[in-house]
């Protein structure tokens, strides 16, 4: 009779169903939609089997289900070696296994698979909510493990369910300290091999090219882009230019990084060789800004920093245009620590290739802009003066900053903006300004990223949202290297000083596509900020506890690290935990307290037993000693002496305080035996 092969009880089946639903539910948002009805269908079928309304599926039905499932997966276009594909296969297997499970062993396989899927879900989301849900599922799965094995038929099903749930929660709570201990101490290794990451998320945020409408549409989203904590206070709002990437190539309509559209790998090659980061071309000036940023999943490799960042902690790539880039697309939140010197001079000498890139213009387009540039350049005393004149023109003429710009046609878009519509968003201003610079022979480029951010006073950090997306420019001058110029400030100074919401107050177009947003109601907004700060704290802890944080944590705790210290701390904590558990479980080690004279007497008996004389259970010590003395006359003195002192200790006048001298005498006699 093997209990593991025992049939699954009714309660066990119900447990299985609960876990199935709990484990599968969170995947709804990530996987192909058709998978969900399939999973629901198997669950309902199983429920009907339990209630006796349906039959268990036969072999042909199982085969058809399997073929349908795998066929569906191939048709749904999930890329083959991807996490999504693996998870979909696992979920299908999970559902089918639940459907046919009829022994306890099958049920256990389902529960173990459930544990695995619960962890896999954290690859998709590591938010607080996902964490809490995970804990809930963990409790349910563990309760299922109890309930499947021990149906507790003498209880009502409600009682046995709550018994299993309570026990499971209690056990998980009790092992929480050990889990945290292992979490703190377990070594964090480097990845062993590359695995495909979740791929189904769409790309969001700043993209690798810019047409005038792009950033305007991004500004309709209040999704979070990243959060930043500053080590020594926040720099002024108008200095917060979170620089992402530079756009050099203009094809008449669209700004791109290079003339070719590169794949990520080619782009990385490019930045590693031709256009690589040259720290010696940097003249560090001004105070340092030290910060730590956590970027949300974007599906893109761009990271946004204050330029130039001199020290960066994290696995990143740096380009010749002072950009910082992740090595892979961000499929999960990523953390970066950096130190920047925003007042530094960049590229005092300009590489010929960079100059060529920064002067490129499409041939024979925008004639009106070209002639305006010639005209202004001849009027100017210097390049500096020319720049001022171009900016002045934005301020003096009736340019408008708007989220609802008119269409500009397909050719001569710069002309159409500068002379006709004169209404535009930051991308229009940045693009046309760079055009004007290049038309006058001044190297310039468009920069995209985010500007500003929302200061969360509760958590003392900055949240940067998609609506903070911004485009500005950099102009190269011989005396100052690359200098940042934001032509938008000429038209809408509020945008940089107070953010997009303030800049759009009169137009009323801030987040106008969202029917309801808590930002527009003050107390809701405050609540939103508070919740956000809790989430950020969670994210910093969860993401932040890596190799570096681990060793730093121990350094703070223990000072200089030595194996001995770590081992001693670990050992101490383990012992403390062991005692805590004993106490919680009511397990007291049994103290078999034996008086020292009794212990000595036991040794005495053992020694005589070895010689061939065992003491009978009822024999008094005196009788036994006389018998022994008679049998071993050569030891008679020791035997009788020992017994005499023993009786003195036990029954003598000083029996209450057991003098040490007598015990010593006993030992002496014993040694002679």
């Amino acid at each position: 009779m093997n209990p593991a092969k025992a049939a699954l009880s009714y309660t066990g089946t119900i447990w299985l169903l609960i876990t199935q639903v709990l484990v599968m539910l969170p995947f709804v948002q990530y996987l192909p939609l058709w998978l969900m009805p399939v999973l629901a269908f198997t669950a309902i079928w199983r429920l009907r089997v339990v209630k006796g309304q349906s039959d268990r599926p036969g072999l042909p039905v199982k085969i058809v289900l399997m073929v349908l499932g795998i066929g569906g997966l191939t048709l749904s276009g999930l890329p083959f070696p991807s996490l999504d594909f693996m998870v979909a296969i696992l979920l299908l297997g999970f559902a089918f296994k639940t459907l046919e499970a009829d022994s306890q062993r099958d049920a256990i396989v389902v529960v173990l698979l459930g544990y695995f899927l619960l962890a896999v879900h954290f690859l998709y989301s590591q938010s607080i909510l996902a964490g809490l849900y995970g804990v809930l599922t963990l409790v349910a799965l563990t309760a299922a493990l109890i309930g499947i094995h021990h149906p507790m038929n003498f209880m009502s099903s409600r009682q046995s369910t709550s018994h299993a749930l309570r026990l499971s929660a209690l056990m998980l709570l009790q092992c929480l300290p050990l889990m945290l201990l292992i979490f703190m101490f377990a070594p964090r290794l480097q990845p062993l091999f590359m695995l495909p990451l979740p791929s189904s998320q769409a790309k969001s945020g700043i993209s690798d090219s810019m047409t005038p409408g792009d950033i305007a549409s991004l500004s309709q989203s209040d999704a979070l882009a990243f959060r930043v904590t500053f080590k020594n206070g926040k720099p002024p709002q108008n200095q917060l230019y979170w620089r992402g990437l530079t756009l050099n190539h203009f094809d008449g309509r669209r700004w791109k990084q290079f003339i070719d559209d590169y794949e990520l790998r080619q782009l990385q090659q490019n930045f590693a060789h031709n256009y690589r980061w040259q720290p010696d071309n940097l003249d560090i000036r001004g105070p340092a800004v030290e910060y730590e940023a956590i970027y949300e999943r974007s599906g893109q490799p761009w990271l946004f920093t204050l330029t130039p960042a001199t020290e960066v902690y994290g696995d990143v790539l740096r380009g010749g245009d002072y950009r910082i880039m992740a090595r892979t697309e961000l499929q999960a939140p990523a953390m970066l620590k950096a130190v920047s010197y925003p007042e530094s001079l960049r590229d005092r000498t300009l590489q010929p290739m960079v100059r060529r890139l920064a002067l490129q213009l499409p041939l024979n387009t925008n004639p009106r802009s070209h002639s305006l540039a010639q005209q202004l350049r001849t009027q100017s005393r210097s390049e500096q003066d020319y720049i001022q004149r171009v900016l002045q023109r934005f301020r003096d003429q009736s340019f408008h900053y708007t989220l609802r710009p008119p269409m500009l046609g397909s050719t001569d878009t710069i002309d159409a903006f500068l002379f006709d519509s004169q209404r535009g968003f930051c991308a229009h201003y940045a693009g046309s300004f760079v055009f004007m610079m290049r038309a006058a022979g001044i190297p310039a480029r468009v920069v995209t990223g985010y500007q500003g951010g929302e200061w969360n006073a509760t958590g003392q950090y900055l949240s940067v949202h998609q609506f903070d997306a911004h485009a500005w420019t950099e102009v190269w001058l011989a005396e100052s290297g690359w200098a940042r110029i934001d032509p938008t400030t000429m038209v809408a100074p509020d945008r940089v000083e107070q953010g997009l919401e303030a800049a759009m107050r009169t137009e009323g177009s801030f987040l106008e596509n969202q029917l309801f947003t808590p930002r527009k109601i003050e107390w809701l907004n405050r609540l939103r900020q508070q919740i956000d700060s809790v989430q950020y704290g969670w994210r910093r802890f969860v993401l932040g506890y890596d190799r570096d944080a681990q060793s730093e944590f121990f350094k703070n705790l223990l000072g200089e690290l030595t194996i001995k210290k770590v081992a001693a701390t670990l050992g101490g904590l383990m012992i403390a935990l062991g005692l805590l558990w004993m106490l919680l479980l009511g397990l007291k080690p049994e103290h078999r307290s034996i008086a020292p004279e009794q212990r000595l007497y036991q040794r005495f008996c053992k020694r005589l037993a070895k010689k061939g004389l065992a003491r009978e259970p009822g024999q008094t010590p005196g009788d036994f000693a006389r018998l022994a003395a008679a049998k071993f006359p050569q030891h008679a003195a020791a035997i009788l002496g020992f017994n005499g002192v023993y009786e003195e200790v036990c029954y003598g006048s000083e029996a209450n305080h057991k003098p040490k001298g007598l015990l010593a005498q006993m030992k002496q006699h014993l040694q002679k035996l």
Partner: protein, 319 residues
Amino acid sequence: MMSRTADFTQQWIRQRLPQTREVTLNQRRIFIVPSKLALGMLLLIILLFVLAINFQNSLVYAVCFWLMALLVLNILHTYRNLAGITLKVIGLSPCFAGANATLEIELSCPPKQKKYAVHVGWPEHDMIEVNLAQQHSVRTQLAHPTTRRGRFTPPRITIETRYPLRLAVAWSYLMTDASAIIYPTPKARTENSTTNTSSTEHSGGTEIPRGSHDFGGIREYQPDDAPRQLHWGKYAQTGELYSKTFVDYSSPQRWLAWETLPFPGTEARLSHLCSQVLDCHAKQQEYGLSIPGTRIEPAQGEAHKQRCLSALALFGEQA
């Protein structure tokens, strides 16, 4: 080599757990090891660890370590579920060889504790699940098959639990010195028994053959028959010698005797006598039993039956 280690293990267990009728399980008596399921769980933990390393995912690490901690903590819970239980052997009831001997046991635990899914019995024969939740003392019976007559001491009783998560098995043994007498299987040899046994029945009671008072019947002359037994009338009719037999009608008594059984084989004879004892007992006759070495005077009643059956069971054994 294997058998020597096995012997050594057995001896070690015997030393550790001496024979007794009652045992309270404590840390000296409880053995505990991870179960097969724990291996599966370990595999899962390793898998999760690899997953966490590759994706550098803190929450996957957390799940992995939580399960690891659960694996450890569960050992204590399983131990606690067994510790403190008192297992007491109440008695072993006798039975006939081939039937099941029933061992009555009592499990109890201190009143504030609860024990679930404790399995007790012999893994090859009969395991019973006991829960000490609502009541703190439970009496139950275990059945152990018997094969041969004689004195039967059941093998050690296993008490084990895998509660709550089945990731560990805690168990202990009770070597009991309780024993029961297993009676021979009652098996009557019908083909010869009526003609050849010396005991036959009569409506008035038990006949004692070769009596001298009452006429019993006529049979062929046998050389040692006394002349006054000869039936002359029959001789006149047939020309052959016939003897008259006489019986004594004593009180309704019956002797079941080993030496009068006409067929060989110790066990067959014991089985036959056993069935006759039961038969007489059922008919409420007075009967006596005579087997080599034992002679039980005729009597009646339950105690007498037990005595006779025990004598049959222990025949040839040193009582």
